[in-house]
């Protein structure tokens, strides 16, 4: 076992390594590849949507296909692109920022990834197996429960599996952040990205079970004849709406909070100042998370809950503007008096502030329940959430990937190209979505395959589509940048940004055990403290000693594969009960893998002190 960390070569060895890895840095790369791929898929779906809406009465895609495209666009972007890309950032940065050798449960980390991956693949298989889900990403019953074909079944099974992965990931980061911090890394010295990852994980923990239950009920209704949402059998579709949004609203903060944290780190780094109002920022993050659970019904103002419920949820929703505002102003005042370097990550961050603020304003306008009777289910809502999601989450992902790219790959994305990608994306973004506010108010509902001519909606839709093309250009330039950087392969130092936090105190990319010696943290912005008041290096908290590492494992892959197979079985047993065999076989693979995992001792291995001195594993 002691040779496990010897370099293996060859493509298949490399592939096997990635299939079995439990190293958080490699899992980050897996999330990046899969999430990036799904982002492109979701983006292409978005482009098709926009092309269909370029002119009134367009026949570019059929009605049925349009509904599949819009459903898959929303679902893919939220669950298969944004979430995993956020997990990329969390995986690469959180353990390093707190001075840990890995996450608390490396095995579960890998399991989380593979569940997400197979869930996503299952969902997208629907395209090739008779049609994708077509009831919107919100899958409101009874439209979803009565949707013909198997599209919605794929939605249910795919999200169930990938949702389980997310939940596991959330618990993992919680325990990691709580239990694995280096000596001296108190809660109030954690970088904001770590803090917001902590809060996000809490949201995942409490929000996803509601989705799990909702999906089970829908699965039972569609596949096993239950009647939860069927009014003629005493069911009630409002239950689905509640369950979906009890999950769904926290979900949008799950998406944006980690990036709030990231922006805090980036602004502080590139302004050369500590974060203004650190403790207020932490407090605001927690408060947003807390309030996030009490506002879900703002998506249901027109469902008919009555004025009392609507008013309560309207006020609770508005309250979230306060902690968010605290954040906006603290960011501005971090830059105030600083020395701002406009690098590419900073550029995305600086663009985020006004974009997100605008999106937030849209949110507060929506929160005014009475007014939402006009906005709801129109392009005003589409405009709002793309402003916060693209302007907050996607900008953040571009910023974060550029920022941590050197940590992940040891190479630096080209700055010029980065700016070249930024501008078309930024301009295109505003062109696409700003005008949609007005489209909505001028009477264009969302999820419309066609709009009618001569109703004053032409110009707005045309502008919106043109903007989307600009975004595509920006994305493509970013991709070219990635390819060129990888081909050049110029190595950079451990700290290319002159940054402040722990992850920059070790080489890029880090050795697989991260820290040769666990560092001693002496203040907020641990590395900065050493740069200003020490010799620029972290002081070790322990003498050089053996390092205990977990073993790689193929079991997570197998467990997820089993569920993937079972998924098909459950879906198709409606047509032919012999498919139940597939379901049973799949479940058996999963259970058997679990069984193997629990009876086989997994004690890991040690890297010996002597090897560390020789520099084992550092590339």
């Amino acid at each position: 076992m002691s040779t496990a960390y010897a370099q293996k070569n060859g493509f298949f060895a490399g592939l096997w390594d990635y299939l079995t890895t439990v190293d958080h840095k490699k899992i980050a790369i897996l999330y990046l590849i899969a999430g990036g791929f799904f982002f492109l898929v979701g983006g292409i779906e978005a482009m098709l949507i926009r092309i269909q809406l370029i002119q009134p009465d367009n026949e570019f895609v059929s009605a049925g296909l349009y509904n599949q495209l819009l459903t898959m666009h929303g679902t893919t972007m939220i669950f298969l692109a944004a979430m995993p890309l956020i997990f990329t950032l969390m995986n690469i940065a959180v353990p390093l920022q707190i001075g840990a050798r890995d996450v608390a449960f490396p095995f579960l980390n890998s399991l989380g990834f593979w569940l997400f991956f197979f869930g996503g693949v299952l969902l997208n298989c629907s395209w090739f197996m008779g049609g994708a889900p077509d009831a919107g990403w919100t899958a409101y019953a009874p439209l979803s429960t009565t949707s013909p074909g198997h599209g919605v079944d794929f939605y249910v099974m795919g999200l169930q599996i990938s949702g389980a992965g997310t939940l596991i990931g959330g618990i993992n980061f919680l325990v990691t952040i709580i239990n694995m911090r280096a000596p001296g890394m108190t809660y109030m010295r954690m970088p904001l990205f770590t803090w917001s990852s902590l809060v996000t994980s809490v949201l995942i923990l409490f929000a996803f079970p509601a989705l799990t239950v909702g999906l089970f009920l829908m699965m039972f209704d569609r596949l096993f004849g239950a009647n939860f949402f069927d009014p003629s059998m005493g069911g009630n579709h409002v239950i689905w709406e509640h369950l979906f949004w009890i999950f769904g609203h926290p979900e949008v903060y799950i998406l944006v909070l980690p990036l709030f944290g990231l922006f805090s780190d980036i602004i502080s780094t590139f302004s050369k100042k500590r974060l203004f109002g650190y403790s207020a920022m932490v407090f605001a993050t927690v408060l947003i998370g807390f309030l996030g659970f009490m506002v879900w019904a703002h998506h249901m103002f027109t469902t008919g809950l009555g004025p009392v419920a609507n008013s309560i949820f309207a006020i609770a929703t508005m309250a979230i503007a306060v902690p968010t505002g605290i954040k906006i102003f603290n960011w501005l005042f971090t830059m105030w008096g600083g020395s701002i370097r406009m690098t590419v990550p900073m550029l995305w961050t600086v663009a985020f502030i006004p974009s997100f603020t605008l999106g937030g304003f849209g949110g507060v306008m929506l929160a005014a329940a009475a007014a939402d009777y006009q906005y709801h289910d129109t392009y005003f809502v589409v405009a709002h959430f793309h402003y916060v999601i693209v302007g907050g989450v996607v900008f953040g992902l571009f910023a974060g990937l550029t920022y941590w790219w050197p940590k992940m790959f040891g190479t630096m994305l080209n700055e010029k190209m980065g700016k070249l990608a930024f501008w078309p994306f930024f301009v295109g973004f505003h062109l696409t979505f700003f005008i949609q506010h007005f489209l909505g108010l001028m009477g264009m509902p969302r999820r419309y395959w066609k709009f009618q001519p001569d109703q004053g909606l032409e110009i707005g839709n045309l502008v919106s589509t043109l903007g989307a093309f600009l975004m595509a250009i920006g994305t493509i330039i970013f991709l070219i940048n990635v390819v060129m950087t990888t081909m050049k392969g110029e190595k950079v130092s451990g700290d290319p940004w002159d940054a402040r936090t722990l992850e920059w105190s070790i080489p890029s990319p880090p050795p697989f055990y991260n820290f040769t010696q666990t560092p001693l943290v002496r203040g907020l912005d641990a590395l900065w403290v050493e740069k200003r008041h020490g010799n620029g290096k972290m002081t070790p908290a322990e003498p050089l000693g053996d390092i205990h590492m977990p073993n790689n494992s193929f079991i997570p892959f197998m467990m997820s594969l089993g569920l993937f197979i079972a998924g098909f079985g459950f879906i198709y047993q409606v047509d032919d009960s012999s498919f139940l065999i597939l379901a049973i076989a799949g479940m058996a693979i999963t259970l058997l893998s679990m069984f193997v995992r629990s009876v086989k001792d997994d004690l890991g291995y040690h890297i010996h002190k002597e090897d560390l001195e020789k520099g084992a594993g550092s590339e």
């Binding site: 449960f105 409490f206 039972f220 009647n227 939860f228 069927d230 009890i246 629990s598």
Partner: protein, 209 residues
């Protein structure tokens, strides 16, 4: 540390909290409690759904007529007792007395099995005597889903504990498996916690009407 973890622990030795003596154990302990926090929301969603649909029985029997309390009472007593027996198991674990721990875990499993058997019998009766099925009305769907989810938890818990008992029968207690036993017992208690609400909210309140 790894080889050390497998060293058998004997009565009279330290540590007195073997489940939390290693970092892995501490992680497991914390992670599992968090998981239970999530499970709380999961069951709340099921309870909520049940409460919303409990009167949607269409032409089927309403809850008052359907439920009998004798069986539920017996099941409750069995499950409560099994909670106590697993407490005994952990008590002996803390004294590093492996044999007794295994014994009490075994008793817990037997009680769990009889609970599950009675539950299956109960469902059978409902389906065959009362025509109360999963598909007969929204009430049926909600009832079987809530109680069935609990039953599935029981079944999974049994598989888990049995695996632990058999796997470790020969090698005794050590720092590697102590957290596993501890966490399994937490899980078992949680199942009991859920049952307390099920017998109160579903059966007793159903009977009251």
């Amino acid at each position: 540390m790894s080889a050390e973890e497998l060293k058998q622990l004997k009565p009279g030795q330290s540590p007195h909290e073997p489940e939390k003596a290693t970092l892995e154990g501490k992680n497991k302990f914390l992670g599992f409690w968090f998981f239970l926090g999530g499970e709380t929301v999961l069951f709340a969603s099921l309870f909520g759904t049940y409460l919303a649909l409990k009167d949607s029985n269409l032409d089927g029997k309403p809850a008052e007529e359907l439920f009998g309390l004798e069986l539920v009472f017996i099941m409750t007593m069995i499950l409560l007792t099994s909670s106590l027996t697993s407490v005994y198991a952990i008590y002996h674990m803390k004294n590093l007395d492996f044999q007794k721990m295994q014994l009490w875990m075994g008793i817990t499993v037997l009680l769990g099995l009889s609970f599950l058997g009675l539950e299956i019998f109960e469902f059978y009766e409902y389906v065959h005597h009362d025509g109360h099925t999963f598909t007969s009305s929204a009430f049926g769907s909600a009832f079987y889903t809530l109680v069935g989810f609990h039953g599935a938890h029981v079944a999974f818990g049994l598989l888990w504990i049995v695996t632990l008992i058999i796997r470790n029968a020969r090698r005794g207690l050590n720092l590697y498996n102590a957290p596993k036993y501890y966490v399994a017992s937490l899980y078992w208690h949680f199942i009991d916690v859920v049952w307390v609400f099920i017998f109160t909210v579903v059966y007793l309140m159903g009977k009251v009407g």
